[in-house]
């Protein structure tokens, strides 16, 4: 119990430092670009592959169900409805947590252990402003874009399944999306809003784990595992909470 309180206090202090660091922050474009690269470009392939297969599986299952009711033309609508709002932000969040969260925690932990953070302090440089914020900001920017990529790839995967593999007419596949009950402002954008929160959560959790890493290489292993666990669990919890607010 006492331990829990201490961790909580440490975490709140971390958040405080993070907010205080805002006043020192000057964005260094080079650093920002490389962080965007690490968070975004390098996760893109993973996101696309997952989106492809999740889209295919979803289309495959819905195809069977809808065929039974003779409602095949509604396929794209069902797939989009299931994916855009919930599955795509959540799966993207989980993948980013695994892909970027662990990297961040390990990187920061490594920096902490190698006294890099202290060296920066010797230069008078606040590590929250120059190490944490660029990474956090990169995640905030990149996650919604990854969600968009996920949406597009998964709907194309469903299209591939229905049209290319099962000979549905392409027109019939696309029309219900425009004229049905899938709305861009609602379904696609809500997914993106969620993604911003997920990105922030993953960033804060992973950086926190990295910044308070324990000694030794087991400390780094522990930090990156914790980062993934906390961020993935958090993504699922946040998803529920946000869903309550967004509808």
């Amino acid at each position: 119990m006492f331990n829990l309180l201490r961790v909580l206090e440490q975490f709140l202090r971390f958040i405080g430092c993070l907010l205080l660091a805002l006043q020192y922050g000057r964005l260094l474009p080079r650093q920002m670009i490389s962080q965007l690269h690490i968070a975004g470009v390098s996760s893109l392939v993973l996101i696309c592959i997952s989106a492809l297969f999740i889209g295919l599986v979803f289309a495959f299952q819905m195809y069977i169900v809808l065929e039974g009711f003779g409602s095949l033309p509604q396929l794209s609508q069902v797939v989009a409805f299931g994916l855009f709002r919930e599955l795509s932000p959540v799966v993207t969040g989980l993948l980013v947590a695994g892909r970027v969260g662990s990297t961040l925690a390990a990187e920061l932990g490594q920096m902490k252990q190698a006294e890099q953070i202290d060296s920066l302090l010797m230069w008078g440089i606040n590590s929250y402003a120059y190490l944490m914020w660029p990474r956090l900001l990169a995640l905030l920017i990149v996650t919604p874009i990854l969600v968009l990529a996920f949406d597009a790839i998964s709907i194309y995967a469903a299209w591939f399944y229905a049209v290319t593999l099962h000979g549905m007419e392409s027109q019939i596949f696309w029309t219900p999306l425009v004229f049905g009950s899938i709305y861009f402002e609602v379904d696609v954008l809500y997914g993106m809003y969620k993604a911003v929160f997920f990105g922030g959560w993953i960033g804060v959790m992973s950086l926190y784990q990295g910044a308070f890493v324990e000694r030794g290489s087991s400390g780094i292993a522990k930090a990156s595992t914790q980062a993934v666990v906390l961020s993935s669990a958090g993504v699922l919890m946040l998803d529920y909470v946000l869903s309550q607010f967004l509808y």
């Binding site: 470009v41 874009i145 899938i182 709305y183 861009f184 609602v186 379904d187 696609v188």
Partner: protein, 152 residues
């Protein structure tokens, strides 16, 4: 420096890709305001729309051409006023068309079906379709049948 340029390039294309996907998605999905698509709305008055819900489909010859937007009660006649959207602005509907509430299968969901008339004048935005067939309610049908057989 090669590494630097490669990184700039990939991050740049990442954003361009993101932007184009954004517009792609906005073009393949519907908008809350269908204005830009030129969709237009019609109205129809029914005695009974039991089972019809918002977003139910509107069909002509079995092809989906629109959806139900709104169902309200008309205070003085107690009939149901249905507002529906026809998606395609080029699809003209004759003024003497008939619209009815039908059921998908025996127990399926309700939808509206328009049987086009032969008039040369066409309905415009906000017009009312005057000829309507109300929903067939199974209970009413049964009670009529019972009365019919009861008389014998």
């Amino acid at each position: 420096m090669f590494k630097k340029r490669w990184m700039d390039l990939s991050v740049g294309s990442f954003f361009i890709l993101g932007l184009s996907v954004f517009f792609f998605l906005s073009s393949i999905t519907g908008q809350v305001s269908d204005e830009k698509l030129g969709a237009y709305q019609l109205r129809a008055r029914f005695d009974d729309v039991s089972g019809l819900v918002n977003r139910a489909l509107v069909r002509i010859s079995g092809v989906t051409v629109g959806q139900v937007n709104d169902i309200v009660i008309v205070p003085d006649t107690y009939s149901a006023m249905v507002t529906l959207t026809i998606f395609d602005p080029k699809l003209k509907i004759p003024a003497d068309s008939t619209i009815g509430v039908y059921t998908e299968g025996i127990l399926g969901s309700k939808y509206l079906s328009i049987m086009p008339g032969f008039s040369d004048t066409f309905l415009r935005k906000g017009d009312e379709i005057l000829r309507t067939n109300s929903a067939v309610v199974l209970e009413n049908l049964f009670s009529k049948l019972l009365l019919f057989f009861g008389d014998k």
